[in-house]
């Protein structure tokens, strides 16, 4: 099963090496990893999506927790939380196909962020499955490139992950 972990770490050089090194060394099945600054300048928050059964998950959490720079790990999987990913998709778009693509973009509530004679760049924020679905539909038009951020997640309600 897939688990989404919020990993709070010290904002120090080498932290990401320690984390990614550990993940590959212990052969954990990580699907995505997204890091960024937080409300505290000293803290970086990493959202890790891992495919693991209960025993494997226990190992992932325990091993990551052992890293000195890892402050706290919260499993957001069973918790009411907002899961989002951002994707930029560059798709072939001629004058004939452009309006068709605009329709698709509307249906998905995506945004067109760049247009030229041959291509369009579409921006979509949403859950993974929604992005997958858009990519599938756009594939008919010819996708030139895709970039995705990897998932980030935040619990609903007043309590931050560090206190969950």
């Amino acid at each position: 099963m897939k688990h989404t972990l919020a990993v709070l770490v010290e904002n120090r050089p080498g932290v990401l090496t320690h984390i990614s090194g550990l993940i590959s060394r212990r052969a954990f099945n990580i699907e995505s990893i997204a890091a960024g600054y937080t409300e505290e300048s000293e803290t970086t928050r990493i959202t890790v999506v891992v495919e693991a059964d209960d025993l494997e998950l226990e190992q992932v959490v325990n091993q990551l927790s052992k890293l000195v720079d890892v402050i706290k790990i919260t499993d957001l999987t069973g918790i009411d939380a907002i899961h989002r990913e951002l994707a930029l998709i560059k798709v072939k778009a001629s004058s004939e196909t452009r309006s068709d693509i605009v329709d698709i973009v509307d249906i998905f509530r995506a945004k067109i962020v760049d247009v030229n004679r041959e291509t369009m760049v579409i921006e979509l924020t949403g859950e993974e499955t929604k992005i997958d679905a858009l990519c599938e539909v756009l594939a008919d038009h010819g996708i030139i490139e895709i970039v995705r951020t990897g998932k980030v997640a935040l619990s609903r309600g007043p309590v931050p992950a560090k206190d969950l």
């Binding site: 010290e10 080498g14 025993l55 226990e58 190992q59 000195v68 890892v70």
Partner: protein, 564 residues
């Protein structure tokens, strides 16, 4: 007070109570070494950086203090790698201070630049690169704290060359503040109730004692538990010495070269209580069939060890110094007194196994048997020596045939199995315990991997006794080739010209050789009685196996037995 970075390091080491440094200088640490010179700081110059780190490791194992190492950038630092990995696998506390190229040169493939932080990330408990002198006091304080607390381990502090010369306002922090590091001490008391319930239910209970007991210095608590419960014990390689070999319910080493009784006990027990163990594959054999009839209780300080290899039914997390006394307090003597009867048949079974299949070997009088060498040294030292081994057959024979008396008296590279460990580790052990007898057992292969340290023990007059069991082969590998590769001895023949006696003497260590069983005891006695360092080369047969043996991928009860 304004001082230089190098002086700040020296001051910090003083603050940590560091008595001696093992190291090797070079360009990037010239300023640091100059500060050592000025402070007249005790320092052992080994003849190779690998020697320095194993020596610090040996020192840490016998003293319980953090071992301290210094080396220069690039090749100096990379020469430490094997020793760091060795210490990491066996959870030995070390702080290693390496020089790095100057800040402005980092990342440019500068002369003698190696990213030692990146290289050592998977083999350290934590590591640092210091680019600003002001950070030094905090970093050194943290490094020692991290190395020694919780589950101990090595910490690397890489310091850019110009930081040693830069000035800072020095004050050593009183406290460590690390948001992400809170070593466990006390765990959940309530779970101990469940442990006692299981213990009182068990008909075939077994304590499995590991290196964690050595590290946490809880051998006495384990002894008290064994006394109170009457339960039998088995030991991992790293757990040797925690319970005396002569202790009546100690059934010895478990695993690949474990005793018949210990391996059968593991297979047949209904309750296995692991104390400071990590269920290494050399212990478990085929994992799916390990302790198949048992509930498993795991006592450890490291939560990540639980369920890593073996499925645990009850975990008791926390320092053994907390959990073992707490368990003891819960064991009501009136109740435990009644356990004796219910486990009596189990103990009888174990004793039968031991009697029918003891550790044994063919007692020949035409050649010197390695096991006889170990037994004789055991006898002559009365189990009072600090016993250090290299890796291979020599290591396993020592584990099997030396009669240990004291915790902390056994030093071996258990987790990594590092050839070349023995001599430098013995050197460090002798520095840590000058009054103790240090005996190193090594093979003819492994001794060559750090034989340069003969020079160091001679120079510092360290009375380490090195016994080279010379079978003229890479014995342990040759044994596998004999047993599993149809006797095709691919590159394990070491027979050559090396004269170990001359080798040792060339570096100032008196040496003897013995080739016939005649006079073995007297020769060993003579060597052990020498006032300074000494080497004895013992010629042993090339084809003697370490037995019993659980072949790789087999179950613990599928031992190949030995002894004729």
């Amino acid at each position: 007070m304004k001082i230089t970075g190098a002086e700040a390091i020296v001051e910090s080491l003083k603050n940590e109570g560091v008595k001696v440094i093992f190291g090797y200088p070079g360009g990037a640490v010239l300023t640091l070494y100059d500060a050592l010179y000025a402070a007249n700081y005790p320092h052992i110059l080994t003849r190779h950086e690998q020697g320095a780190v194993h020596a610090a490791d040996g020192y840490a194992r016998v003293t319980g203090d953090v071992g301290v190492v210094m080396a220069t950038s690039g090749p100096g630092a990379t020469n430490l790698v094997t020793g760091i990995a060795t210490a990491y696998m066996d959870s030995i506390p070390l702080v290693l201070i390496t020089g790095q190229v100057a800040v402005s040169l980092i990342g440019r493939d500068s002369f003698q630049e190696a990213d030692i932080r990146g290289i050592t990330t998977p083999i350290t408990k934590h590591n640092y690169l210091v680019k600003k002198a002001e950070q030094l006091p905090r970093v050194i304080k943290e490094a020692f704290f991290i190395a020694r607390t919780g589950r101990p381990g090595p910490v690397v502090v890489d310091v850019a060359k110009d930081v040693f010369a830069a000035e800072l306002d020095y004050s050593y922090p009183e406290k460590v503040e690390l948001r992400g590091y809170h070593p466990l001490w006390a765990g959940d008391e309530a779970v101990l109730g469940q442990v006692v319930d299981e213990m009182s239910r068990a008909r075939r209970p077994l304590f499995f004692v590991g290196g964690g007991v050595n590290l946490s210095r809880t051998a006495e608590e384990v002894r008290a538990l064994a006394e109170r419960t009457g339960f039998p014990l088995i030991l991992s390689l790293m757990g040797l010495g925690t319970v005396p070999s002569a202790y009546p319910r100690n059934f010895g080493l478990v695993g690949m070269h474990g005793t018949y009784a210990a391996n059968m006990a593991t297979t047949e027990c209904d309750l296995l209580i692991g104390l400071g163990v990590r269920f290494d594959d050399r212990v478990t054999g085929l994992l799916q069939h390990f302790a198949p009839k048992a509930k498993v209780i795991h006592f450890d300080v490291d939560p990540a060890e639980v369920n890593k290899n073996v499925r645990t039914d009850i975990r008791v997390l926390g320092d053994l110094k907390w959990s073992l006394p707490a368990l003891l307090r819960r064991l009501d003597p009136a109740e435990t007194a009644e356990w004796g009867e219910k486990i009596a048949p189990w103990l009888r079974l174990l004793e039968e196994w031991q009697k029918e299949n003891p550790l044994t070997y063919e007692r020949r009088d035409d050649v010197i048997m390695p096991q006889a060498v170990i037994e004789t040294v055991s006898d002559l030292t009365g189990g009072e020596a600090l016993v250090v081994t290299d890796v291979g057959q020599n290591q396993m024979w020592t584990a099997q045939f030396y009669r240990f008396k004291h915790p902390g008296s056994w030093l071996t590279s258990g987790g990594l199995g590092t050839m070349g460990y023995g001599l430098p580790a013995g050197l460090g052990a002798q520095v840590g315990c000058p009054e103790k007898h240090v005996v190193v057992f090594a093979g003819d292969g492994g001794i060559m991997m750090n034989c340069q340290e003969f020079d160091t023990i001679a120079k510092f007059g360290l009375p380490v006794k090195v016994i080279i069991l010379n079978n003229q082969v890479l014995g342990m590998v040759a044994q596998w080739q004999r047993m599993f590769y149809g006797g095709r001895y691919a590159h394990t023949d070491l027979s050559g010209r090396t004269d170990f006696v001359k080798l040792a003497e060339a570096m100032g260590v008196p040496a003897l050789r013995i080739t016939e069983p005649e006079g073995l005891r007297e020769t060993l006695e003579r060597v052990l009685a020498m006032p300074g360092p000494a080497v004895l080369e013992v010629r042993i047969p090339s084809d003697e196996d370490v037995l019993p043996m659980v072949p790789g991928g087999a179950r613990l009860d599928q031992m190949v037995m030995g002894g004729r």
